[in-house]
């Protein structure tokens, strides 16, 4: 009950809706009231958590093993004296996954600055190049190594999908990086990249939400951040309240979903065996 303003507004809205409902709910489609309540409830949960995060509340987020793996990969590159290759996907900054990829890049750049390992980031969109450069520069400044940063770390190859893949492959074969990180939105080129990375014996870590590409990454890379895990990792690294609050809010909704599944199964069992209660499945069918 920390956020008074939120609760006042919410209860006001509920009272208003109840009055509306008992006044004969003019112009309201009653068949969909279950959906309506669900939407309001979930939205309120999300909003509440985002507001809490913005007010400075800290939430616990479980450690994500993939991030630990990245640290080890950078460490190994340092030991071997070889560069780290970072591929932020092939799409533009309007994709959530690219944004997440660039956030993780900031984290990687801090590590390479700390360990004095060279970092190579080929990109396929000019806007991504700008964003990635900015993030890297900032990371090197924060680690107190602005001298080590140069713009050529992040360089543009080409927009074309396969031409980009060919270019990255060329870099891998020439420079033989010890760690290849693929974090962003990928399509068919995922295979080509992961295969070449494997053939040069690099540690490979991937992160993407492109469902069709996850299987290829899981089998060809040493570690893969799967879908939401990738977003959660980037939220955790970015420390932006709206992202962290969002992760927390969605977690709460997930618990609610699981509870509803179990509850609906039980209710269904009770209803079908003894005819007690109501048909939960019918309730969930909204047309």
């Amino acid at each position: 009950m920390k956020d008074k303003q939120f609760w006042i507004v919410l209860s006001g809205l509920i009272v208003a809706f109840l009055i509306f409902w008992f006044a004969g709910q003019p112009m309201f489609n009653e068949d969909r009231v279950v959906m309506f309540i669900t939407i309001v409830a979930i939205s309120a949960t999300l909003l509440y958590n985002i507001r809490m995060a913005k007010r400075g509340e800290t939430f616990y987020l479980r450690p994500i093993p993939g991030l630990k793996a990245i640290e080890e990969a950078v460490g190994r590159s340092t030991e071997m004296g070889k560069p780290v290759l970072y591929v932020p996907g092939i799409m533009d900054m309007d994709q959530v996954e690219t944004v997440a990829g660039v956030i993780v890049l900031g984290h990687v750049a801090r590590m390479t600055a700390r360990y004095e390992t060279s970092l190579n980031v080929p990109v396929s969109r000019s806007i991504v190049m700008k964003a990635a450069r900015e993030v890297c520069r900032e990371s090197y400044m924060m680690e107190g190594r602005p001298d080590m940063f140069n713009d050529d770390m992040v360089h543009y190859l080409t927009d074309d999908q396969f031409a980009y893949a060919a270019g990255v492959n060329g870099i891998m074969i020439r420079e033989k990086p010890a760690a290849c990180l693929y974090m962003g939105k990928f399509y068919a080129e995922s295979l080509i990249l992961a295969e070449t990375g494997n053939s040069i014996g690099a540690i490979q870590i991937a992160g993407t939400a492109s469902q069709a590409q996850i299987p290829f990454f899981v089998t060809a890379c040493d570690y893969t951040l799967i879908g939401e895990e990738f977003f959660a990792a980037s939220a955790y690294l970015s420390q932006k309240p709206e992202l962290i609050g969002g992760v927390r809010g969605q977690d709460m909704v997930k618990v609610a979903v699981i509870s509803v599944i179990i509850l609906a199964t039980l209710l269904r069992f009770i209803y079908e065996t003894w005819g007690v209660g109501f048909d939960a499945i019918k309730l969930l069918t909204v047309q």
């Binding site: 112009m27 489609n29 295969e195 089998t219 879908g227």
Partner: protein, 274 residues
């Protein structure tokens, strides 16, 4: 500033809320607007967005040629392709009005536009996608490794689906699968106990049991059903696979819902580049 920033946010909030609550409203005028006209406007703007995308692409290619950047002669090819398609789309129909009027020409047999579609667009796009078959083949040889338990689970499920789905899978007897399982069991026991005697014992007993059972039943191809590839394949596909996919689906569904709500409430503003 208000034009560039606040108004777009306001438009998203208003249209988003209207569409979302349009699902619940029973007022005929609002319903008609939300269901018919608003969606039509969306369709029209979607078309403009596609045209804008095409023009943006051409702008980039022309700049590449003008500044003679690396690989610019290929950009001329791209520009040529664009102009060719536009010519067929807007200027040269290739048939009389009796065959196709303007507007119908983009779908009618015999027009220049259809020719481009058949002999240029189709082979190019289809071949682009079929290239991937080759990459899958070489990656399956050189990169898909059983690194850990998760990856092996993935690969085994994948192989069962791959073989069980196609006709050749139904030609593989369930007894062959049983022998393979016995051998796999042997490998498992070997890594666990690290004793050759026990391994040979397990494999030997397994083979004898399977062989005796087979001789007694007369080696039917698809019995016992739980070892018949097409049946295993169908089970994996319809049950464990659905369970896993459903978990992802619910997660993604909630994610999209959350993003949409953030858009409508104006918390997420990435579409204006923030």
């Amino acid at each position: 500033m208000i034009w560039k920033r606040q108004i777009p946010i306001l438009i998203v909030a208003f249209i988003g809320a209207l569409t979302l609550f349009g699902w619940f409203v029973e007022e005929p005028n609002i319903k008609a607007f939300v269901d018919d006209d608003a969606t039509q406007w969306y369709d029209i703007l979607a078309s403009f967005a596609i045209i804008l995308g095409a023009m943006n692409l051409m702008k980039m290619q022309i700049q590449k040629v003008a500044r003679q950047k690396k690989g610019w002669p290929y950009s001329i090819v791209a520009i040529f392709g664009f102009l060719f398609a536009i010519t067929a789309g807007f200027f040269i129909k290739g048939v009389d009005d009796s065959v196709a009027v303007w507007g119908a020409h983009v779908t009618t047999e015999g027009t220049l536009f259809k020719w481009i579609f058949d002999y240029m667009f189709t082979p190019l796009s289809a071949t682009m996608f079929s290239l991937l078959a080759f990459f899958v083949a070489s990656a399956s040889y050189r990169a898909f490794r059983i690194r850990n338990f998760e990856a092996s689970l993935l690969l085994v499920a994948g192989i069962i689906i791959m073989v069980g789905r196609v006709p050749i899978g139904s030609l593989i007897s369930s007894w062959v699968i049983m022998y393979i399982i016995v051998l796999a069991l042997g490998i498992g026991v070997n890594t666990w106990k690290k004793d050759k005697k026990i391994t040979f014992g397990v494999v030997g007993v397994g083979i004898i049991i399977v062989t005796v059972a087979g001789m007694m039943t007369g080696w039917p191809l698809d019995k016992p059903a739980i070892f018949y590839l097409p049946i295993i394949q169908e089970w994996i596909y319809y049950y464990p696979n659905v369970a896993g996919t459903r978990a992802i689906m619910i997660g993604v569904g909630l994610g999209i819902f959350a993003t949409s709500i953030r858009y409508i409430l104006g918390i997420e503003k990435s579409y204006i580049g923030e």
